[in-house]
């Protein structure tokens, strides 16, 4: 197993993380360092545990054993108060966007500011319109999520994730359900916002190999473990058999992919 040595510089440090659901050991000793100011993309066949790992990183799930340190705080068994403190540093983009469908785009993006800050109404409006412009949604703030295309919903959800200027951005399959053109534009958007704010980004993606272009580092998961991690160049040059098989689209479990994901990545 390849592993980045400089733990001290990493924003997120995962050690020997294990989690079992029923009889299935979904995470079976995950070790991963996510360095600051870079985009780390977690890839792997479906069922390898990558989404479950991300749900541990954003504290929606708790592990059976192992440890997670986020920005210097051990969150493995954090109290809800500590967990909420760490969550203040996170921006999370969910697979389906998870916009509140009872609210307009403006209210959705303003929501974290309205609920969690003392900013004035005018300051919130300024910040929301600014971030909407950045993700290319100017003029859309009065629309409801159901009135927008999937790609626009993703952009709005990204705006909501960024509006509190988080330190760490977590993206769960941000391009699921999008065609290749929109996939590329979301990837570019993630890259430009990451660079603009100097964010640490963790992304779970099935868009292999397109996602390599926007990633700094790749972590390849297989069977509940991170089998391989390193810079894009290091990882793609590896001779790891599972990874090469995965790249060739023959990875075990591939046929179990939900239809939406298959449709989302035509030509594979």
């Amino acid at each position: 197993m390849e592993r980045n040595g400089d733990t001290a510089g990493a924003t997120i440090v995962v050690r020997d993380l294990r989690r079992r659901f029923g009889r299935q050991q979904v995470l079976d000793g995950v070790n991963l360092d996510i360095p600051a100011g870079q985009i780390t993309t977690i890839v792997g066949p479906s069922g390898c545990g990558k989404t479950v790992l991300l749900k541990h990183l954003n504290l929606l799930l708790r592990p059976d054993s192992g440890s997670i340190i986020i920005d210097g705080t051990d969150v493995t068994a954090a109290s809800s108060r500590v967990a909420d403190m760490v969550r203040e540093k996170l921006g999370v983009l969910f697979q389906a966007g998870a916009l509140f469908d009872s609210m307009t785009i403006f209210d959705n993006v303003a929501f974290p500011l309205v609920e969690k800050t003392d900013l004035s109404r005018a300051a919130i409006a300024r910040r929301v319109l600014e971030i909407l412009a950045q993700v290319g949604l100017e003029g859309m703030e009065k629309k409801y999520p159901s009135e927008m295309s999937g790609g626009m919903q993703k952009r709005a959800a990204l705006a909501r994730a960024l509006v509190r200027r988080p330190k760490i951005l977590m993206l769960d399959e941000p391009t699921t359900g999008l065609d290749p053109t929109r996939t590329r534009s979301i990837h570019e958007l993630v890259r430009t916002t990451q660079q603009k704010f100097g964010l640490t980004a963790v992304m779970v993606s099935h868009d292999v190999p397109q996602v390599f272009e926007v990633s700094d580092r790749i972590a390849y998961m297989h069977g509940g473990k991170v089998e391989l991690s390193g810079s894009v160049a290091e990882v793609t040059a590896t001779s790891n058999e599972n990874f090469q098989q995965f790249l060739a689209g023959k990875a075990a479990g591939e046929e179990e992919r939900p239809l939406s994901q298959v449709v989302a990545t035509p030509g594979r």
Partner: protein, 258 residues
């Protein structure tokens, strides 16, 4: 072997049941804690009082009217056999205030607002909106459940009061206006025979029903399976369980409070 397997399955079912019951109770307790714990969000509460209460007014009034009318009709025809038409007002008012008002109003609000609530929260769970609240460091129970439970406790007694008054009006219209029962004894009977205890019992029932219905409907939505059928199943279960609990609690409370 077969017996051991059966015992094992029975044990697993019992443990599952106990865990579910525990979750159910813990869900209410945490929601109640967030009712009293700051930060307070009056905006959320007012919106829910509107959804559960104000938006149900027409339906509750309509059902109250027809219930009172049928009570006036049946009551008049029955009482006439005993030449006691003068007791019509007392019968209609007591039946409405003590029993039918709280129970029927609660059943109606369950069908109208409770089902929608379970579906809404279930859909939010299915589309990760509840996870989104959590990662924004907003407690979903505090944000979604507590205002609804408090709004239920506020709205149900008010709706019940309105149901009772409109129902008595309906009973009067049919019994006195249509069938010719004497009008004076209708209201005199109510004034003489209805006690404060009758009214508080009815409103207390409504208050408890408000708590139970919102608790059940929010719980079923919150723990809905994360798929379309999960939402529909949660909605059905919420309405069925709420209705059964309303009637069971009604008997239980009547026997204690009578």
């Amino acid at each position: 072997m077969a017996i051991a397997g059966m015992i094992e399955r029975l044990g697993a079912a019992v443990i599952d049941g106990v865990i579910t019951l525990g979750n159910f109770v813990m869900f209410l307790l945490s929601a109640l804690i967030y009712v009293v714990a700051p930060p307070y969000k009056p905006r959320l509460l007012i919106r829910q009082v509107r959804t559960i209460g104000a938006d149900s007014l027409f339906l509750v009034g309509l059902i109250g009217l027809f219930t009172g009318m049928v009570l006036g009709l049946q009551g008049f025809n029955t009482l006439r056999r005993f030449s006691s038409e003068g007791a019509l007002g007392t019968v209609v008012a007591l039946v409405l205030v003590r029993e039918l008002g709280p129970v029927l109003a609660a059943l109606m609000v369950t069908a109208r607002a409770g089902s929608a609530m379970a579906a809404e929260i279930g859909a939010m769970q299915a589309t990760e909106q509840i996870d989104a609240l959590t990662v924004m460091a907003i407690n979903p129970v505090q944000y979604l459940v507590s205002p609804r439970i408090l709004a239920g406790v506020i709205s149900f007694p008010l709706l019940t009061g309105i149901f009772d008054v409109i129902g008595i009006g309906g009973g009067w219209a049919v019994g006195v206006g249509l069938m010719g029962a004497p009008s004076g004894p209708f209201f005199n009977g109510i004034a003489q025979n209805m006690t404060g205890h009758d009214i508080t019992t009815g409103l207390l029932k409504a208050l408890v029903f408000g708590l139970v219905v919102m608790w059940v409907c929010c719980y079923k939505g919150y723990y809905a399976a994360r798929m379309a059928t999960g939402v529909s199943q949660a909605t059905t279960e919420a309405v069925v369980l709420s209705s059964v609990l309303i009637l069971a609690w009604d008997y239980f409370m009547t026997s204690i409070l009578l």
